[in-house]
């Protein structure tokens, strides 16, 4: 292992002639220095490699979460959602369609021009594409059930220009081509619709060369070019999956969006756990650290045991208790069922390191234990309380098991973690809409990342010292 500190330091090299008798000498100082630098270089390279491996996984998954088909194989690193040219085209089309350059949409006053070029092998005739603004909804059939406004009800399409050209075909020869420009207008009033789907169908053999906006999918074996949204706007193009998971994950009976509910439930549960743990763990921790009472040993043993025993061992009874209390499918059940022994232990360790003299002085002045705790100890325990709160928040937000067992229906009662699982299980035949799953996953990470970035020093240092104890 070539850690730098294992290399001969300069001091050792200085008395090399004493330490190493024999025909061969120690390396000269310059050579040793080079070795030290080289070792540092390798260590640094390893660190960079590790960071790339660990963060790169998330970066790649994030890229996939932007794609229209995250499962595409082979994986492309260049795709419309990350190409500036596509952003500008999307912004331009979104603005023309009356929905704005950012989030796009198709609304009253829309008047947009869209061009695309098809070519045929030499000798064949080019046919005019048959175009349509189809009555389509994206993704799930739930979206179909709840969609009331379709761009197809308002859109009028006409050809405004056909420009004959030639292009270099796939075989290298010059192919006759035609660039068609359509004008799509919004007839009359009506709402702003999120999407303007567009399809153009040509005979077999005619090839789509180029279009103002990259095509979303080729259907009917390449005959039908399909754009899922001709007026996406720049953000609407890039973050389409994010918008979908936010807007289209809905409770079918109420029509309410589920994702905000899931986030809210997660917040409520995390807040409830933090409040419970900060208050109760410090009380219990103080009692265990400072107060002398018969049975302290037994309580401490129970605390230690409960940390080693997995929750799956006790979950049947806990499920029944929560059920009998009528707290199934409520945040309360998930809050109280969590045994926070580790937090009690953390507070106990903190209080044990707290100088005793102040408390004793207060007791001597006739203060009760509660007064000592409330007015002397607690104000000085701020750092430990904050640390406890952060760890509790993270653990509660990320908790999977208890929400999984205790929350099942209605869909708006889930937490974001269990909600993500329900997204993965959605769809006939069990295939997942990975665009929604990955986008939802990245949204769900945001709160813990924010907390982490604000408190990172404290979290990392604390975890490190805790682990060693």
């Amino acid at each position: 292992m070539n850690g730098a500190n294992a290399l001969a330091p300069a001091a050792a090299a200085a008395d090399a002639d004493v330490a190493a008798p024999g025909p061969r000498g120690r390396m000269p100082l310059g050579a040793l220095r080079r070795r030290q630098l080289a070792a540092l270089f390798w260590g640094w390279l390893a660190l960079v490699g590790l960071v790339c491996l660990f963060l790169g996984t998330f970066v790649i998954a994030f890229l996939a979460s932007l794609k229209e088909d995250p499962l595409e194989s082979p994986f492309r690193f260049v795709f419309p959602q990350i190409q500036p040219s596509a952003w500008f085209a999307a912004a331009d089309l979104g603005a023309q369609a009356g929905g704005g350059a950012f989030w796009g949409g198709f609304g009253p006053g829309a008047d947009l021009l869209f061009s695309a070029t098809w070519a045929v092998p030499p000798g064949e005739t080019l046919e005019t594409p048959v175009v349509e603004v189809p009555r389509r909804v994206p993704g799930s059939s739930i979206a179909r059930a709840l969609t009331t406004d379709y761009a197809s009800d308002h859109a009028a399409v006409e050809v405004v220009a056909v420009e004959e050209t030639t292009v270099t075909g796939p075989d290298g020869a010059l192919w006759p081509a035609a660039r068609h420009t359509w004008r799509i207008t919004h007839a009359g009033g009506g709402p702003l619709v999120d999407r303007l789907p567009f399809t153009a169908t040509v005979p077999r053999g005619q090839v789509l060369i180029d279009a103002d906006l990259p095509v979303s999918a080729m259907e009917r074996r390449g005959r039908t070019a399909s754009w899922s949204n001709l007026a996406p706007g720049a953000l609407g193009l890039v973050f389409d999956n994010y918008r979908r998971v936010w807007n289209e994950t809905v409770d079918i009976s109420s029509g309410e969006r589920l994702f905000p509910w899931w986030l809210l439930n997660s917040f409520l549960i995390a807040a409830g756990r933090v409040a419970m743990i900060v208050a109760l763990a410090s009380l219990a921790g103080y009692a265990l650290a400072r107060l002398r009472f018969g049975g302290a040993g037994a309580v401490f043993a129970a605390v230690i045991f409960s940390m080693a025993i997995p929750p799956q061992v006790t979950f049947v009874s806990n499920y029944l208790v929560i059920r009998d209390l009528g707290l199934l499918n409520t945040p309360w059940g998930v809050i109280v069922v969590f045994t926070f022994s580790a937090h009690v232990l953390l507070m106990k360790q903190f209080f044990e390191g707290f100088p005793r003299e102040i408390e004793e002085a207060a007791i001597a002045d006739g203060a009760s234990h509660w007064q000592v705790f409330r007015h002397v100890v607690l104000p000085n325990a701020r750092p430990a309380l904050v640390t406890n709160a952060i760890i509790a928040f993270q653990a509660a937000w990320n908790d999977f098991f208890w929400p999984f067992v205790l929350l099942s229906s209605p869909p708006s009662s889930l937490t974001v973690q269990v909600g993500l699982l329900s997204l993965r299980q959605q769809g006939a035949g069990g295939e997942s809409d990975w665009g929604l799953v990955l986008a939802g996953a990245f949204i769900s990470v945001v709160p813990v990342v924010i907390v982490f970035l604000i408190f990172q020093r404290r979290i990392v240092d604390n975890q490190l010292s805790e682990g060693i104890k």
Binding site: L47, A61, L71, L283, P311, R424, G467
Partner: protein, 369 residues
Amino acid sequence: MADTDPHGPLGAAERRAAWLFLAPFGALLGVFFLFAAARTAWFSLTDYDLFSEARFVGLRNYGALLTDDLFLLALRNSLMFAVIVTTAQTVLALILAVFVNGIVRGRGAARTALYFPSIVSSTVMTLIFIWLFQRRGLVTDAANWVANEGAAIACFALVLVAVQTALVWNARRRYDGVAPLDPYFLIFAVAAALAVTVLLRTAQILPAGEADEPISWLNTRRTWLGMPVTLWSVAAINVFTTIPLMMLLYLAGLQSIPRDLYEAAEIDGASRRTAFLRITVPLLAPVTFAVVTLGLIGTLQMFDQVAILGNAAPIESRVTLAYYTYYNAFPPGGAPRIGMASAGAITLAVLTLGIVFLQRALGISDRAA
């Protein structure tokens, strides 16, 4: 120590305060841990489906466990998983920590970056990994690439070893203390190997395979070294999530080892390997103890990843003891088998405690040595 008499009136007040302070936590611990554990033990002796009354059946559930293939599989999977993952993450974390130790510049940023996987929820990690481990996903692409570039990789390794050996051998004729992996020579060896390989590969002298096979990482009944491939994939998720944290633990431990110990060893003529085995490893024993304990407790309760996999993998390839318990309590398409679930749960509890005690006993003797 406080100067109050524990049996006097002040002592009584202290006892009262203690119980009051403990009451809320104690009540929750009592209901959701002690009572729950006791009730699980009782359920494990009954036949109970949540619909009709529980019926006492003695030890019959435990007998049934021994003939239940799924339970035996779960037991085996859990044990292998715990041992494999704990070993892998401990060894890898230690090696990486030693490697990275000594870097000063950019370390804070790296620490933050490496900590990232441990703040992400197991749900998100698992979903991302399920996506990566699709039959035609990126992991498959990577595996195919390695298979296809086998010749190039072998060539790289050969040239690397040859150049490094030559340089070290040459230097050893003149100097003492040239390590086989001399870091300075390694730069040249790697550069040479890379150059030769890229040259031969672009000149098409090294053949490249054309494998483009889909590989089942999750939905498979294959086993490797006695553990289902699915669980190896789950092990990869687990190691990936825990290594950074464990590595940071080791780094903190390494910082606390006094530098002059190594210097003394150097003067005594100890090789770096000896120094690593005689100084680094023993002095890091407390960290190792913590890492192994955390690892064993964490891996024995492997549940989240397995549950999130769900129908993406056959039950036999992903079942662990913790999941067996849940699977029997809420079986798909059948009435709950609470008795069997509880018997499985008690087995899991006994196993966990047994392993923790055993490890504690060994860990303490190790530290004393």
